[in-house]
């Protein structure tokens, strides 16, 4: 574990420990009251989910065209994080929606495209797990195609009208709500970065051990 990772982890832990007070200090929203505070957890998760998917897609494309296993390790780590934060997003979203809309789930563009992206990265992990030798390339192709697919899923579902609050809501938030939001986003981002470098170095070591075993078998 490098010093940078240790510092990221320490900072993230500290921020997560303080987060309940910061969130508690934020004012109540007029129509939703207390429930809207799930948002401080939901939105950073959703952003990290997207970030994970983008990092995995870009790293996969670079792996395909450079064949450098370094990028593959990054892609695996990012894909696992995408699934982790995707799960957090998909669990915290309905909890809020049940109170705010009275429904657990609606087939709105953002919800559906998040679900499909989540499924694509879940398929990515299944492929890594059960695809056998050579599945790194396959899964790189999958991540690349999955990322290219997002705008299509979004547009195609969007025609069923959207219920989800628009992204443009973020800059218009009052300062008292914006501050805890950015606090949470920073905490999530630090956690994301620390996990990403830990997991990808683990994956690089695993690949190296595999290569050593293989070399010994051949010798």
């Amino acid at each position: 574990m490098t010093t940078a990772v240790k510092m990221q982890l320490a900072a993230a832990t500290l921020m997560f420990a303080v987060a309940p007070w910061v969130i508690n200090a934020a004012p109540h929203e007029a129509t939703m009251g207390l429930v809207y505070k799930i948002y401080f957890f939901h939105m950073p998760s959703a952003w990290m989910f997207m970030l994970g998917a983008i990092v995995a897609g870009v790293a996969s494309a670079r792996f395909l065209f450079t064949k450098n296993p370094k990028f593959d390790a990054t892609a695996v780590a990012a894909a696992e994080l995408a699934v982790l934060f995707g799960l957090l997003t998909l669990v915290s979203g309905p909890l809020w929606a049940r109170k705010a809309w009275g429904l657990w789930w609606v087939w709105d563009a953002r919800l559906t495209s998040s679900l499909m992206l989540f499924l694509i990265f879940l398929a990515y992990l299944l492929l890594r797990q059960f695809g056998g030798p050579g599945s790194e390339k396959l899964s790189a192709g999958l991540a690349l195609f999955g990322l290219a697919n997002v705008p299509f899923i979004y547009v195609s579902v969007n025609v069923w009208r959207t219920l989800h609050p628009k992204t443009s809501v973020v800059p218009t938030l009052p300062v008292e709500m914006g501050r805890p939001l950015w606090f949470c986003v920073t905490a999530f981002l630090l956690l994301f970065l620390a996990l990403l470098s830990l997991r990808s170095s683990l994956e690089r070591q695993r690949a190296r051990i595999d290569a050593l075993y293989l070399a010994e078998d051949e010798a």
């Binding site: 695809g131 195609f145 999955g146 025609v159």
Partner: protein, 227 residues
């Protein structure tokens, strides 16, 4: 450019010759597609009357299912005889091989559609002749999108373990836009007052999807299929 299409044409001819000798993939896929529609008919036809507005969905679901089966079988044949390796060793453009395989799958699926569409029209009282041009356009664009992604994934999976399970697992989430656009567009044509504007929107989305994913597939086929 001419060499590219010549190679693609050779691959198509090879696949057609193999298929014509046995009709293995076509006959099994066709039979499977028909049984899928029948199963839906048992589920959705109540007291002799089909549930409103299900015809489009059933048509596209049957296409996706039978398409997956055809993709799996076509490449399984290549794997068993180890002919995919031979193809890859040939001094030819890799993307041309992809285009050849894709064209073969498209022909197969077009034949299946030629049976499926009238069958859905008959069993679910869908007005398939109201806007035949638009329906054909939606089917062609949707099939191309589905097969473009499917051919690439099936080719990649040839060397993977548990490939028969993984193909649908990878393919269905990826082709969700095709399913939504195909089903919505066809439903717009099948309703009492066909909505051509809506069908046009979905057709445009499908064409755009095809353009992006065929390009991506041609671009990634070479690195994906190289050991």
């Amino acid at each position: 450019m001419r060499a590219f299409f010549r190679v693609a044409a050779f691959v198509v001819r090879k696949d057609l010759t193999v298929e014509v000798r046995s009709f293995e993939v076509l006959s099994t896929t066709l039979f499977f597609a028909v049984t899928v529609v029948l199963i839906f008919a048992f589920g959705f036809v109540q007291e002799g009357v089909p549930v409103d507005g299900v015809a489009a969905a059933i048509l596209w679901i049957a296409l996706a299912f039978s398409g997956t089966l055809a993709l799996g079988r076509t490449f399984e044949r290549e794997r068993q005889a180890d002919t995919l390796r031979a193809l890859m060793l040939a001094p030819a453009d890799r993307p041309a091989l992809y285009v050849g395989k894709l064209a073969g799958i498209l022909m197969l699926m077009a034949l299946v559609e030629a049976v499926l569409v009238p069958m859905v029209g008959l069993m679910f009282q869908a007005p398939i002749f109201v806007a035949p041009g638009w329906l054909a356009g939606l089917l062609a664009a949707g099939t191309l999108g589905f097969a473009a992604v499917g051919t690439l994934f099936a080719a990649m999976l040839v060397r993977a373990r548990s490939r028969d399970v993984l193909l649908p697992v990878l393919l269905y989430p990826m082709t969700v836009p095709v399913m939504i656009a195909g089903v919505r567009g066809t439903a717009a044509l099948f309703q009492a007052e066909p909505d051509l504007g809506l069908a046009q929107f979905w057709l445009a989305l499908l064409v755009f999807f095809d353009a992006v994913f065929v390009t991506l597939a041609l671009w990634t086929f070479e690195p994906l299929m190289t050991d």
